[in-house]
């Protein structure tokens, strides 16, 4: 019995003194709990639906007003201000709205045939389109009831029917969202973990000291390591995108094949930012055991707050502004704009500026804390 007790006491002491174990048993689940506890997956996020009203009558105005949630009514659909059909079609193709509803002329009057409401939706987002459809149908019932005193759904169908048409769009639905998001995440992880762990290990094993005994300038080794990491990350990004393309059938940079080349700029630029972060961590940490918790404490929150696995719309309002400025948010948003909608690297000025500011801050820190031994 005494032997068991002696071992248990010794093991509890060892466990308590092992920072990495403490991190994974307590800090990691706590971070996860905090992040996921604050996220609001239940919040109703009205689908973005453009409306073109060709009827211009009391019934159509009433329908639009209810859907848009004028006055103090709840917002059922998020409706863009414009009602110009070509413009909205372009928005749909760009993936900026989920669906486009066209209210035909003569809507609301019982003619020889019921009027046909066309809904064009992005083929990558059928769930959102069909939830918009059911919202519109429900609203139609209410509108006809108010305007023409038509109570039942059966009769409503004599007045208006809905035709759903899938439209090819540049937005690639959740598959495109997740592929580009994970590629962005992998850039950060590869840079931060790769550099920080390697450097801490080389330093604690004395490899760096051995290089300092040679006539080379030790910064040559550091530069080579950074360049190597950039090559690895570039290869990694292209391989992961090719896998996404071949297995999920997503188009990389639709309508803008130059994206493949421009990605090189983005990858090298962001790799530099995150490699600096990795070097800072490796200089602050003494051993691999302390590097891991520090790196994870920085990376994990970003992994869930930068819209990698789910849209940032589930992030509560008080936290959302902070997540706008995370470096991974800038990277993921740029990656998505380029990969999923085929936008040019050079059109992403805001995001690039955000990354550049982070790059300057992190680089300054890494120079301040950097040490060879």
């Amino acid at each position: 019995m005494k032997i068991y007790l002696a071992f248990i006491v010794a093991e509890i002491k060892m466990f308590y003194r092992d920072r990495a174990a403490l991190f994974w048993t307590l800090a990691f689940p706590m971070i996860m709990m905090l992040i996921f506890g604050f996220l609001n997956f239940d919040r109703y996020d009205p689908p973005d639906v453009g409306i073109v009203d060709n009827a211009h009558n009391e019934a159509s105005a009433s329908l639009v007003s209810v859907l848009r949630g004028d006055g103090d009514r709840p917002e059922l659909l998020s409706v863009p201000a414009t009602n110009d059909e070509p413009e909205l079609r372009a928005e749909l193709e760009e993936g900026n709205i989920t669906a486009l509803m066209v209210i035909p002329e003569g809507f609301g009057s019982r003619g020889p045939a019921s009027s046909l409401i066309d809904i064009y939706y992005a083929e990558g987002q059928p769930q959102e389109a069909f939830s918009a459809q059911s919202i519109i149908e429900d609203t139609l019932d209410g509108v006809f009831n108010a305007v023409a005193d038509v109570p039942s759904q059966y009769q409503r169908q004599q007045w208006a029917q809905i035709r759903m048409t899938a439209t090819e769009t540049k937005g690639q639905g959740y598959k495109g969202f997740i592929v580009s998001g994970i590629v962005a995440l992998s850039v950060m992880q590869s840079a931060v973990f790769g550099v920080s762990f390697t450097f801490v290990r080389l330093r604690s094993q004395g490899v760096l000291r051995r290089f300092r005994a040679t006539p080379i300038n030790p910064s040559h080794f550091l530069t080579a390591m950074v360049i190597t990491r950039m090559i690895v990350i570039t290869a990694q990004v292209y391989i992961l995108l090719l896998i996404g393309m071949l297995t999920f059938g997503i188009t990389i940079g639709p309508g803008h094949p130059l994206v493949w080349l421009e990605l090189l700029l983005l990858v090298i630029f962001t790799a530099a930012v995150f490699v600096s972060l990795g070097l800072s961590i490796s200089s602050i940490a003494n051993t691999e055991n302390t590097a891991a918790p520090i790196a994870n404490a920085i990376i994990l929150p970003m992994m869930f707050l930068s819209g990698i696995f789910f849209p940032r719309s589930v992030i509560p309002d008080w936290l959302a502004p902070v997540t706008d400025y995370l470096p991974l948010t800038y990277l993921a948003d740029t990656m998505r704009a380029m990969v999923n909608t085929g936008e040019s690297f050079f059109s992403q000025g805001g995001n690039i500026l955000g990354l550049a500011v982070w790059g300057i801050i992190i680089f300054a820190v890494s120079i301040r804390v950097f040490r060879w031994e």
């Binding site: 080389l202 094993q205 004395g206 490899v207 000291r209 051995r210 290089f211 005994a213 040679t214 006539p215």
Partner: protein
Amino acid sequence: MSDAIIEARELRKRYRDIVAVDGISFSVRAGEIFGMLGPNGAGKTTTVEMVEGMREPDSGDAFINGISVVKEPKRVKSIIGVQLQQNAFLDNLTLAETVGLFATLYGSDITADDVLSQVGLQDRGKHNYKNLSGGQKQRMSIAVALVNDPVAMFLDEPTTGLDPQARRNIWGLIRDLRDSGKAILLTTHYMEEAEDLCDRVAIVDQGRIVAMDTPHALVNALRDRGARSEHRDGALNLEDVFIDITGKDLREGTGSESE
């Protein structure tokens, strides 16, 4: 001493309020093995690092083949061979690849086979460092120190942790290097290693050289001072000299001597 390859002159170094090296001078000739002995924290490692150009002295200078390490550390580094106490090389590279990499760093065109066969590792070229035995690892780190055919070699505790066979094997290798004309400076905690292997030794304590001569002369001097052996055979050895000079107190206060 005109044929001195390694020469240290009045080296001094302090870390904040601790004087690590307090005016150390010595020289090592070509074809000589010079041992530096001393308790932990005596300043051996700091001294050697200053001579190697890895640490800048506060004052004083060291010369390799007449080249000042303070003025031209890179030139000095390119003609010396360094083996560090804690040996580690890049993971997942074979011995031949590691030797090749270091040869490039020194701008040397010697082949890996050539270097590895000098230390008897010619059939281990495709192996990984971490799979070697302790003695093989030490020979590998000596091999890496040989890629530039150095005039002077610095070996930091080259046989620590080795079994008697492996230790004698390393001694043989070091004697071969001496016989090829290199000046060799080694640090060690093993007194019988210093006694057997070194042509001259310096005993360092508290940042100063407190004795410097051949092991034989140091032992004779101790006998002349009238010291009595505590050994069963009544003989005195270098360890007795070491204890007589540096005392019996434990030197654990500073822990690591690199700081």
